[in-house]
Point group: C2
Chain length 120, copies 2
């Protein structure tokens, strides 16, 4: 049951924060590290978890690996991501993540991560 995998991915705070950022823009690992303030291993393993279940897609860009929501998503995933957005928009942790992300914009892997939308 595909739905179950979605909920399994959703039931960890770190993964929820990751997915929340991804609904805004594709990102490389170091952006997640900085925006969430978590260790590289932790981020990397949660991303692998999400990837194994098809909730995120990857694309290499030089030294960096850009994570994004998959281009073609199931109706279930779209519905739940939207629902997540609604539930989360007011929560302080998620707002803070977003704010920190915005302050990073051009720092780390340059425009690569944040502007990947236009390039792809």
């Amino acid at each position: 049951m595909k739905l179950i995998q979605i909920y399994q991915c959703f039931c960890d705070p770190t993964r929820l924060r990751i997915l929340h950022l991804l609904t805004q823009t594709p990102l490389c690992v170091c952006h997640f590290q900085d925006a969430l303030g978590e260790a590289q291993v932790k981020i990397s393993k949660h991303l692998a978890y999400l990837r194994a279940r098809g909730l995120v897609a990857t694309k290499r860009k030089g030294n960096w690996i850009i994570y994004s929501l998959p281009a073609r998503r199931s109706a279930e995933l779209d519905a739940n991501l939207e629902c997540l957005q609604d539930c989360v928009s007011s929560a302080p942790i998620f707002r803070r993540d977003l704010q920190r992300l915005e302050k990073l914009q051009a720092s780390c892997c340059e425009p690569a991560g944040v502007l990947a939308l236009e390039h792809s």
Copy 2:
């Protein structure tokens, strides 16, 4: 984070089926047993799990214990239950659960379970 608990509850197939039935009507344990075709222990433990996290409420009625969605629900819970409904309405397992439930209606704990809506 309350949201996490919702997703934790949602990430097991049996619990998902239970919640799906509860969006239709309050039910006693034996109704779940029959509709889902699962053992009493299994149902009972998943109900306890849901109850511990506030996703369901209970009410004693003679020999039976009626489970229902809590009267006052958080916005998050409501949103996710609605989303679940949308995702699940076409899935065969869930349809089958509902059909089996309908055939049980007046059998087990009489009107107690299914009609609890009107009594409360």
